[in-house]
């Protein structure tokens, strides 16, 4: 039984077309041109209870619009959404009681209050029971290591501390669904890691369903079990993270450092993509060249000092899918170090 159902949802936006030039600007005094854009176009998917879903797509793909519809902030132009049996925008308050939302780019905390007071306000707002509240505050304070800054006003906190605080208040009332909209944006590696671990832990303990949008693929890799990708408002892809990652598995890279080289490696399915003195990087097609053959050829041709073999990361797969949208021309995997 699926917990969240998104069924043929479309959402349109009207936007005012800005003209160029002084003369055209003057004509808009008389007449305005509107443009109807579909931010989300006939989108359907379902999510089960307790799933960890990464919701990705390039900028402007319609991610935030979907989240806004799921949380009941806006209503779709057509189609239906149910989260836990509730239509979010029709029972907004009821829905709000069952969800927790964290927007990475905007704070919901009161700037002047210390965290403790904000906790108390949220307890009253969500009418959380005292015992549950106490238990949750303790647990989150410990897991997110918030003790040192609990009684400092929010304005004095660092970005990382603020984000941990945001997470905590979004979860105090034990929501069944947690929406995370770019929760790790602008954070340093350590805090990112802390947050990722926390979300996983939370999911294990409380079976919270998590829907996460992000541009940082490491978030997906470390938090999510499943990936949903949209672009131009339509569903591009919906599969498990493991399956998704295996897409890139037919290629890998070999970086060979050497003291001496007879001639560059030349084989079917092997391509030299970067040539430096004493260091070559090759892209290898897994299906055409076996590892044994590759290694023996390398040891024949080079006097090897070091060899590094690297699989494409989730980042690269995503980049490949994003960039190959329009014409399949730029769908090249870029090897970066």
């Amino acid at each position: 039984m699926s917990y969240i159902t998104v069924d043929h949802v479309t959402r349109e936006f009207k936007s005012f077309k800005r003209p160029k030039g002084l003369k055209n600007a003057l004509t808009t005094l008389l007449k305005r041109n509107y443009e109807v854009k579909k931010a989300v176009d006939d989108l359907s998917f379902t999510v089960d209870k307790g799933e960890l879903v990464g919701y990705i797509g390039p900028n402007g793909a319609g991610k935030s619009t979907t989240i806004k519809m799921l949380t009941g902030i806006i209503t779709p132009t057509c189609g239906t959404i149910k989260t836990g049996g509730i239509i979010p925008w029709e029972n907004r308050k009821e829905n709000a009681r069952h969800i927790g939302v964290v927007f990475g780019q905007r704070s919901q905390l009161n700037w002047d209050l210390p965290m403790e007071d904000t906790f108390e306000l949220y307890r009253r707002m969500y009418r959380t029971e005292e015992i549950k509240f106490r238990k949750n505050t303790e647990m989150f304070t410990e897991l997110l290591e918030m003790q040192p800054f609990l009684n400092k006003p929010v304005r004095q906190l660092s970005l990382g501390q603020k984000m941990r605080a945001e997470l905590a208040i979004a979860l105090l009332h034990d929501p069944e669904i947690l929406y995370l909209d770019e929760p790790t944006i602008g954070l340093d590696v350590v805090v990112k890691d802390k947050i990722r671990k926390f979300v996983r832990e939370l999911n294990r303990e409380k079976k919270t369903t998590v829907i996460l949008t992000t541009h940082d693929m490491a978030d997906i890799e470390e938090i999510c079990d499943r990936i949903i990708m949209i672009d131009h408002g339509t569903l591009m892809l919906d599969q498990s993270v493991a399956l998704f990652k295996s897409q890139g598995a037919d290629q890998y890279y070999a970086e060979v450092s050497f003291r001496y080289c007879k001639e560059p490696l030349f084989l079917d399915g092997v391509e030299l993509i970067k040539e430096l003195p004493f260091c070559h990087t090759y892209r290898i097609n897994h299906r055409l060249v076996s590892v044994n053959v590759l290694l023996s050829r390398i040891s024949e041709l080079f006097e090897v000092t070091d060899i590094t073999i690297k699989k494409p990361e989730i980042d690269e797969i995503v980049r490949k899918i994003y960039t190959s949208q329009p014409g399949e021309t730029s769908g090249q995997l870029l090897y970066t170090k």
């Binding site: 002084l22 005094l29 602008g186 340093d188 490491a218 590892v291 290694l295 073999i309 690297k310 980042d315």
Partner: protein, 312 residues
């Protein structure tokens, strides 16, 4: 090398180091780039053009931006009319009561209309904008830009204000001059009026700018500006002509820069007795421009040095 070793090598592809040196740095650089391009969008074309042209382009941009909002234009026009109408009703009622001699209705109406126009040219948001830039730290970028922040704001604001005055001000002025058959002074007087008005605008702008800079030491810019606005309202004669003030207060106003922004230029336009010595008025205005320029430089110096000390 055996297969196990290979496997190991494959796995080490996903190390923390990579996050640190690749994605993290990349994101960081992207953020900085974004901040800079955002800033450039706000100053379109400017950096590509010559310095002289630059300010002209800036004025045109602000002018163009304003045209986007047609309803606002209409509302503002009606609002300005209402303002003048209210003033005229008040003067009518006061003159009807007969307590005032030697001031006639026409003069009062002229004063109100011209004052409304002058007020339109004086509008400025500079204090708030400066406060915003200090708060967000964008001021650091201003330090390395090849344009003067002061004049950037000045011309941007002037473009916006000129738009208002051209589109509604002149219309209102034309209609009211026809409606109440107000007289226009000779070209000489108009010219002197315009010169002294320019000085006035520069004076008020310098005050606003200096106050805006004070934000560096204060949390919030709006309140310093409110104080300046109140002083302007009280001592400039923009709301009530200074001839209604008791004598002691009127002479007090002469020692402040505010009346040289509004009352004195309008008095020149109206050909008042006290404005016959227009040379004196212009000289005092020049004096204030210089004083304020020095004050503003001093404040700026203080800010610069304290930024260097703090290291940003």
């Amino acid at each position: 090398m055996n297969k196990n070793r290979l496997k190991q090598i494959l796995q080490t592809g996903n190390t923390m180091l990579q996050y640190l040196f690749l994605s993290y740095r990349e994101k960081f650089v992207q953020n900085i780039k974004k901040a800079v391009t955002d800033y450039d969008k706000m100053v379109p074309d400017i950096l590509n053009k010559g310095r002289k042209e630059m300010y002209w382009v800036l004025m045109k941009c602000c002018f163009r931006q304003q045209i986007q909002y047609k309803w606002n234009l209409l509302f503002q026009m009606i609002g300005d009319w209402l303002g003048i109408y209210i003033k005229i009703c008040i003067w009518q009622a006061i003159l009807n009561a007969g307590g005032i001699k030697n001031i006639n209705f026409e003069m009062m109406v002229s004063y109100s209309v011209i004052a409304a126009m002058v007020n339109g040219l004086l509008y400025s948001r500079i204090a708030e904008e400066l406060a915003d830039r200090f708060r967000t730290g964008m001021i650091a970028i201003d330090f390395i830009r090849p344009i003067s922040l002061k004049w950037y704001y000045f011309f941007g604001q002037l473009g916006e204000n000129l738009y208002h005055v051209l589109f509604e001000g002149f219309f209102i002025a034309a209609v009211s001059f026809l409606l109440w058959k107000l007289s226009v002074p000779g070209p000489e007087t108009v010219l002197i009026f315009l010169i002294s008005l320019c000085f006035g605008i520069i004076i008020l702008f310098s005050i606003q700018y200096a106050i805006g800079l004070l934000v560096f030491w204060m949390k919030d810019g709006t309140y310093t500006r409110m104080i300046a606005d109140a002083l302007f309202l009280l001592f400039s004669g923009i709301d009530i002509p200074l001839w209604f003030y008791p004598d002691w207060l009127k002479s007090f106003c002469d020692f402040l820069p505010f009346s040289y922004v509004a009352y004195k230029p309008i008095a020149i336009w109206l050909g008042m007795m006290e404005a016959k010595q227009w040379q004196k008025i212009l000289l005092i205005q020049l004096f204030w421009v210089l004083v304020l320029f020095i004050v503003e430089r001093l404040i700026w110096k203080r800010i610069q040095s304290s930024i260097e000390i703090q290291g940003g």
